[in-house]
Symmetry: C2
Subunit: 381 residues, 2 copies
């Protein structure tokens, strides 16, 4: 299905870890991997224009099917030429299936074999999302990479996880059957909570279906960080080498190193955008809160040597002023810096894999970057 | 005072009206006139970066002394290298005196001969703004064009207007005496409400003091539009030909034509930015409200043929979606379009004066553009 249009080339494998540098070819351009995709929930990466995203070196964004289904609706977007044209973003787009958002709607949703029945958080209207409908909607939206409907159960409840994972497998088969567009790559999703046997079973089953890519779901949703990493170690060796691997909804800067060294190629996360809007700014030494009084007269950029538009032009003092004065330019400039930080970090990691210096970059980065609390992030922004 | 640094050249005068095309030379670059200055109340033109302002062809912005005095404070801005560097805007800046904002603070303010005593709208702290202090603050901010402290009385109360105008004159002399920096042009302000004799007296007095530029205050603050225009007709012929004339806080697109044909060179107004943030977008046929349901599937740009970034890339349907979804990109794209509309209109007007076609452009524009309610706008955004 669309395999010729979505060739994934592994360019270099790190000899000491599972890390690899690759290129995912799509009809809207090449995506060098590992890659970080900013989240554009409502067909806009919050505060940024497509031009800015391009200048930041973004090569992939993720939009949320649940939100676009409710507003403006897939028919409107299809009528206006699809998501790329609607939001004027000419490069690759991925859509999720909507399952994760709807799972979070409790008690406004109910999962059955048929699909998931839910009420809109906007107007309370009732909808049934089936695997077939999830694919139909994503075909109308027209992203390059699309996703099977899955059920992301809370990771610790084995019985529920087993049931949800089995259902996710049956839905994966239905999604595959429903998917018609040749210019979209369909990703299967692996579930299985924090149970190695369930994760192995899911990895083997999803891998057997011949998807264009593999997503790993249900991780970094509250379980201990060691469990997340253990699951990656269990799953990744069972995956086809020639398909891209997406770890859904991750993550913070240290997570990139840990996950890439365990074989992940694609990340999406609201962290840089959502944090940016609150004034939390990433640096190589951890996050700073620009609203802090200590920055009131600080003429330095957020981070010395950073090449983003924000750091090239504005002081911490000015940024703090914008946040204190509640000016929109504050969240804008913070988002530019944070997205640049993430995209640039992934670019550096990729280069280090090509150069054979991944392990030393990883050590250097993790030494300077403080341990952070695990961050629980919804996959929407 | 700074005359060599601020030469104003009249390039062409319209033979049929008082309209003229000129160039105001400043230490931060030339300002072709007539010109529209977007308002950057808190050292940011709301939603826009300096880079965007440059791309929009903006050559002058106005910042509000009252707001910057309260936050972050003139000392902070001076310590960080002045307003240009603080906000990373390399082109000309004008500051008002703060008088207009403070006048609007009633009952939190009291005017006396010494100055105006007021309480901050942010924290209730009490301050005395004298003519000398208004100049001192503006010297710390470091704008290219600065303004005398004045009192803008309600335009209809003759006795109050007379008193306020006389005081404004005495304050003008004190401001002139207090002003030391040679790299700033000081504008005197004419008051006089809607009373021709008071306006004439004020025009003559202010003109006699040798300011670098003349601002006309206290108009478009609620009086009938005919009165505004009548006051311009009374005042302008009494002003020195070789000084730029600024009509404070104006205006809507038709106002430009009416005021320019009566001899005005400089405008500032919050209209394009404030309107833009609510989804009101300017076109040659008047304003449209992009939130209207009729635009839900409208694939056209805001205005056919418009060369702004917004119209070159996005449909009305997408803009409506952004506003309905309360995405920051909505106000951003709307502001870009509206500022482009104003700047571009002024550029066209200037060209028409040079080409000798001002009167026909004026007729053409005013025929297509519907009459609008008079807009009462504060001089801050």
């Amino acid at each position: 299905m669309g395999e010729e249009l979505f060739k994934f080339t592994v360019v270099k494998e790190d000899p000491h870890t599972w890390a690899r540098a690759g290129i995912l070819h799509t009809p809207h351009g090449d995506i060098p991997t590992p890659v970080f995709a900013p989240v554009g929930t409502q067909a806009t990466v919050k505060t940024l224009t497509p031009r800015e995203l391009e200048e930041l070196g973004v090569t992939l964004i993720l939009a949320n099917t649940y939100h676009l289904f409710l507003r403006p609706g897939p028919e409107v977007i299809a009528e206006l030429g699809g998501l790329h044209r609607f939001m004027a973003w000419p490069k690759p787009i991925m859509t999720d299936s909507g399952g994760f958002q709807i799972f979070s709607l409790e008690p406004l949703r109910r999962f059955t074999e048929e699909g998931v029945l839910f009420r809109s958080h906007l107007d309370g209207s009732q909808h049934l999302l089936t695997p077939e409908r999830a694919i139909e909607i994503q075909e109308m939206l027209g992203a390059d990479l699309i996703t099977c409907l899955d059920e992301c159960a809370p990771p610790l409840d084995r019985e529920y996880v087993k049931e949800a994972t089995d259902r996710t497998h049956r839905w994966a088969e239905r999604c595959l059957k429903a998917h018609k567009r040749k210019d979209q790559a369909l990703f299967g999703i692996i579930q299985g909570g924090i149970f190695p046997d369930l994760r192995r079973e899911s990895a083997r089953f999803i891998s057997s279906l011949g998807f264009d890519g593999i997503a790993i779901g249900g991780l970094s949703v509250g379980e201990p960080k060691e469990k997340t990493l253990e699951m990656l170690e269990v799953v990744v060796p069972l995956l086809p080498r020639d398909k891209p691997r997406h770890l859904l909804g991750v993550g913070a800067p240290p997570d990139f190193f840990e996950s890439i060294s365990r074989g992940i190629d694609i990340f999406d996360c609201v962290l840089p955008t959502r944090m940016g809007r609150t004034g939390a700014l990433f640096t190589r030494k951890g996050r700073i809160n620009i609203r802090n009084a200590r920055y009131a007269r600080d003429s330095r950029p957020i981070e010395e040597g950073c090449t983003c538009y924000t750091c090239q032009n504005f002081s911490r003092a000015y940024l703090r002023h914008l946040f204190k004065a509640e000016e929109i330019l504050g969240p804008r400039l913070a988002t530019i810096h944070n997205v640049h930080f993430m995209v640039n970090l992934l670019r550096e990691i990729r280069q280090s894999i090509l150069d054979g210096t991944f392990s030393s970059l990883r050590e250097e980065f993790l030494t300077a970057y403080p341990l952070e609390e695990p961050l629980k992030m919804a996959e929407e922004d």
